[in-house]
């Protein structure tokens, strides 16, 4: 925004004198925010520190210093959580306004350090069971508690990811790229149940008014896990593909509805992409006879979709 524009708004009496004075400060850079820069730096600091600590522990497991390092890390973790509890407001079902701009990052640092300590103890002393399963479950529980106590969306994403990996589901594109999602037999069934179950739990929490602003993050994971599961089922089980096709489309419809409900077009995007892949795969037998039919299908389906969105653009306004 240029100053002339602001003066024009002021001259035409769209804004009051006080508003003009306030906005003039911002536009003429007499007030200059480094909010995003400092937050990004803080986030990078947490990322570098925890990565460094993780590698350090991994390289020095079993060394003489391991008792010292675990004590230092535990003290750091406790310090982070002590600071968070001391400075955070009491728990509410609604949103919690952070007391300081860096409180969120202290909570995050505490969580990640705790996981390092837990992993260290597991490797060194086998505190928990032989399997890694219980460690991820404990991590998930801690993350969930942190997320709800400090109203922390980052911790919530970590919690859902850890909880999914407890069931053997890897929720990261890198893992999918290495075919881990597809490799294990019947993992897609787990994914379907996990996605549906988590979505149900989210609905119950929402109904009770507990942290309603968490619903977006929950549904984001639910819909992706469920839809990928249904799509993998469709690709791998030729015999029961009718069933998976129906599951995929139920999932797409519910995802699109969640988008309408949460006022987010992101879910509409998921529904479209997965639905389109599903339909194209289902029709592939008919489409593969002749190249020109395939091209016509692309033109008609996607061209029609573009036309549909433009025709009904009032439903897709910038602010849903």
């Amino acid at each position: 925004m240029r100053l002339e524009k602001l003066k024009e708004l002021h001259d035409k009496k769209f804004i009051t004198d006080e508003q003009f004075a306030e906005l003039d400060q911002i536009i003429s850079k007499k007030v200059f925010s480094v909010f995003y820069e400092l937050r990004t730096l803080l986030y990078l600091g947490v990322l570098l520190f925890t990565t460094g600590v993780g590698i350090f522990i991994y390289l020095n497991i079993g060394d003489l210093g391991h008792v010292v390092s675990i004590i230092v890390l535990s003290i750091l973790t406790l310090a982070c959580f002590y600071y968070s509890f001391k400075n955070s407001g009491p728990y509410t079902h609604g949103k919690l306004v952070p007391a300081t701009p860096y409180l969120d990052y202290i909570v995050l640092l505490g969580c990640l350090l705790f996981i390092s300590v837990l992993g260290y103890l597991q490797f060194q002393y086998n505190v928990l069971d032989e399997s890694l399963g219980e460690t991820t479950l404990v991590a998930a529980v801690i993350f969930f508690i942190t997320a709800y106590r400090f109203d922390h969306l980052g911790a919530l994403s970590l919690a859902i990811t850890a909880f999914a990996s407890f069931w053997g589901l890897s929720v990261s594109p890198q893992e999918w790229y290495h075919n881990d999602f597809f490799a294990s037999a019947n993992l897609h069934v787990t994914a379907l149940f996990f996605g549906a179950g988590l979505a149900g739990a989210t609905l119950v929490l929402f109904q009770r008014g507990i942290k309603q602003h968490f619903a977006f993050t929950y549904f984001n994971f639910c819909s992706l896990i469920f839809l990928v599961g249904a799509l993998v089922g469709l690709f791998t089980n030729h015999d029961s593909r009718g069933l998976y096709f129906m599951l995929l489309f139920t999932g797409c419809a519910l995802t699109a509805y969640a988008g309408y409900w949460l006022k987010s077009f992101l879910f509409l995007l998921y529904a479209f992409v997965f639905g389109y892949i599903g339909i194209t795969y289902f029709l592939s037998d008919f489409l593969s006879y002749d190249g020109s039919i395939l091209f016509l299908y692309f033109i008609i389906s996607c061209g029609g979709f573009v036309f549909f969105i433009i025709q009904y653009k009032s439903y897709f306004k910038r602010e849903p």
Binding site: K5, I55, S264, F298, C302, I309
Partner: protein
């Protein structure tokens, strides 16, 4: 040549986007926003980001269908030479430009709707492929056409991807021409880059200030940032050394170094420092952000050649320093200093009670503080806020 969109609507749209931010932050009331919206009409079809992505993907698939059908048709009648097919590609690309302008921009009033981006890239892609085919892959011609076409689309359709592509084509063109000449010209590539891109940066900065260039504001900002990064990379010791070794087959024997090594070490240190100094002094957000990336990469450069062999300790220490310095800065800026604030002035996440105090302190001129503190560590700044407002 002008930009393709209706200029009044563009300027109104830019205005409304900002007043909407003010309304979200409760600087102005919804009624005020409504009356401003009524007074500054915009008739564009300009959907939100997700719908744009959706339309972009769907348009690309539909366009691939069109291309596929046409190619089947062309291949069946003209079992002909590569030249004819290339010429048809160019014709098809140009036709796509006209289709975009006549149907989507002029009639359906699209502005960055996803469909427009898909058509622009589609048109550029086919035109370039056709040129490459006709000249049988002449790099000089292809790079020059890249530069020309991307500059055209960046200018006419205010497209950010085209802007980056145009700047990178320019950089590659300079590099390639000097590299092909060989001899002494290869040695002075870094100096030529700095000598050419520094004036370009100041030229862009001048253009950004002009009122009539307001609609290209985002394009120019992006071009500025890329220009600064290119100047930094041209003076960076690691970039120069590795490019010398890998592309120019320079042999560096143990104990020897690249020519003018001291100069590049000097630039590796001074360029980021200069960026952050002038960024903080002039409150230039582009300079500040680029300087953070540059500082991070300079630290990496020195660690790369003078490593103690313990990357994990380096990481941990760097992280700890970064956290401590940033928290100190945040505490320092708890009350605004010299016009700097830690609050996000156009978002209400931490309430805007402090903003009022800030405005008061600024208008009363009552701030006594030491100079802006120095930053440490480095890193990119892609805007770390987590917003799920789409």
């Amino acid at each position: 040549m002008k930009c393709a969109y209706n200029e009044t609507w563009l300027s109104n749209l830019q205005l409304l986007k900002e007043t909407k931010e003010w309304q979200k932050n409760k600087i102005i009331s919804p009624e005020q926003q409504a009356s401003i919206t009524a007074a500054y009409p915009v008739a564009f079809f300009h959907p939100n980001l997700i719908i744009r992505i959706l339309l972009f993907l769907a348009s690309l698939i539909a366009l691939s269908g069109v291309t596929g059908l046409l190619s089947l048709f062309v291949l069946s009648i003209a079992n002909g030479t590569e030249q004819i097919i290339s010429a048809l590609c160019i014709l098809y690309g140009i036709a796509a430009f006209f289709f975009l302008e006549a149907i989507f921009i002029r009639t359906a009033r699209h502005y960055k709707s996803g469909v427009t981006e898909a058509l622009v890239y589609h048109a550029v892609g086919f035109t370039l492929a056709g040129i490459a085919g006709i000249t049988s892959g002449n790099t000089h011609v292809i790079v020059i056409s890249c530069l020309a076409l991307f500059s055209f689309t960046a200018f006419r359709y205010l497209d950010l991807v085209s802007t980056s592509a145009a700047i990178l084509s320019l950089a590659f063109l300079i590099f390639y021409e000097l590299f092909e000449q060989g001899g002494i010209l290869r040695q002075i590539i870094p100096m030529v880059f700095i000598a050419l891109f520094t004036p370009l940066y100041f030229f862009l900065k001048l253009q950004k200030e002009k009122r009539e260039n307001e609609r290209w504001h985002h394009c120019i900002m992006l071009a500025e940032a890329l220009t600064l990064l290119i100047i930094y990379a041209a003076g960076n010791y690691l970039v120069v050394r590795e490019l010398s070794v890998n592309l120019m087959d320079m042999q560096i024997i143990e104990g020897q170094n690249i020519p003018y090594a001291f100069l590049f070490y000097f630039l590796t240190v001074t360029i980021p420092v200069a960026y952050i100094y002038f960024g903080i002094k002039n409150k230039d957000i582009v300079l500040i952000r680029v300087s953070l990336v540059a500082i991070g990469f300079s630290v990496f450069t020195f660690k790369y050649y003078y490593s103690l062999g313990h990357p994990e300790i380096t990481l941990t220490l760097a992280g700890a320093i970064l956290i401590l310095v940033t928290i100190q800065l945040l505490r320092y800026l708890k009350t605004p200093k010299r016009g700097y604030t830690r609050e996000n002035i156009l978002s209400s996440k931490w309430g805007s009670a402090n903003l009022e105090a800030l405005v008061v302190s600024q208008t009363m001129g009552g701030n006594h503080s030491a100079g802006a503190s120095e930053h440490g560590g480095g890193g990119s700044s892609a805007g770390g806020g987590s917003s799920e407002s789409f």
